[in-house]
């Protein structure tokens, strides 16, 4: 069986290139046929906010890139519910296609993967 990889993204979408480069690592991992999960926690939950207008910053929309992940073999994006609560973000403000990890589910979720890459 192929090893499973968890890519943890922790930064806001337009905080330098961090979020974009974490996403690139997830895409490359999936392209190697590894069972790859993308986990958004901390300020990274802002990446999934709907109605982003990053063209004002001359940037590409992270949410649009995240929406395209199933095409690259990453079926679900996992979101830490506590990070949402801390920031006053509700689920209906996010683009579709994510799985919420409730409090207490985070640690078991991370440890079920063979490899964890933290960004």
């Amino acid at each position: 069986m192929n090893p499973s990889v968890c890519i943890i993204s922790t930064r806001a979408p337009y905080h330098g290139q961090n979020a974009r480069e974490a996403l690139d690592a997830a895409l490359v991992s999936a392209s190697y046929d590894l069972d790859t999960s993308l986990l958004l926690m901390g300020d990274a939950v802002y990446q999934l906010l709907d109605n982003q207008s990053p063209e004002q910053l001359s940037r590409k929309s992270l949410a649009a890139m995240l929406k395209a992940l199933p095409m690259y073999g990453i079926e679900t994006i996992f979101v830490d519910s506590e990070s949402l609560q801390e920031r006053g973000i509700t689920e209906d403000q996010l683009v579709d296609g994510f799985t919420l990890l409730e409090e207490g589910a985070l640690a078991p979720f991370i440890t079920q993967h063979d490899k964890v890459l933290n960004f």
Partner: protein
């Protein structure tokens, strides 16, 4: 034990590179091996030959250079992250028609696959800063 180290912070703006170097030296001193160093995100700035800090200050890129040479380590710099930040070797400079190149030759430019591979191959994969 076989270690791989990923470095995400730049020498001038992050503690990551210095901590990683200390850690790498300790790994070797304890008789373990380093499968690969991977410089990604702002960590790619470590690979420039042009950094010239004042003489009484630490020169982190130069210290990495000698450490890598002395221990014949595999040191990979992410090509996409490097090109984005103006870290470039001779052949990429030619390809993109840039007037100069600055990648130290102890490192090699390669893709993110080398990061994933390092994560899989090593017994311990350690990330330093971002």
């Amino acid at each position: 034990m076989k270690y791989a180290l990923a470095i995400y912070g730049a020498p001038a703006t992050s503690q990551a590179g210095q901590t990683a170097l200390q850690f790498a030296k300790a790994v070797i001193a304890k008789g373990h091996s380093i499968h690969r160093l991977f410089f990604y995100q702002d960590g790619v700035h470590t690979a420039t030959t042009l950094a010239s800090p004042p003489q009484d200050e630490q020169h982190l890129p130069a210290e990495w250079e000698s450490f890598i040479q002395e221990n014949r380590l595999d040191s990979v710099v992410c090509i996409a992250a490097a090109l984005r930040r103006g870290i470039i070797d001779a052949s990429e400079a030619e390809r993109y028609e840039r007037p100069a190149h600055n990648l130290s030759d102890v490192h090699q430019l390669s893709g993110l696959g080398q990061l994933i591979d390092a994560g899989l191959e090593a017994d311990r994969f350690i990330t330093f800063g971002s």
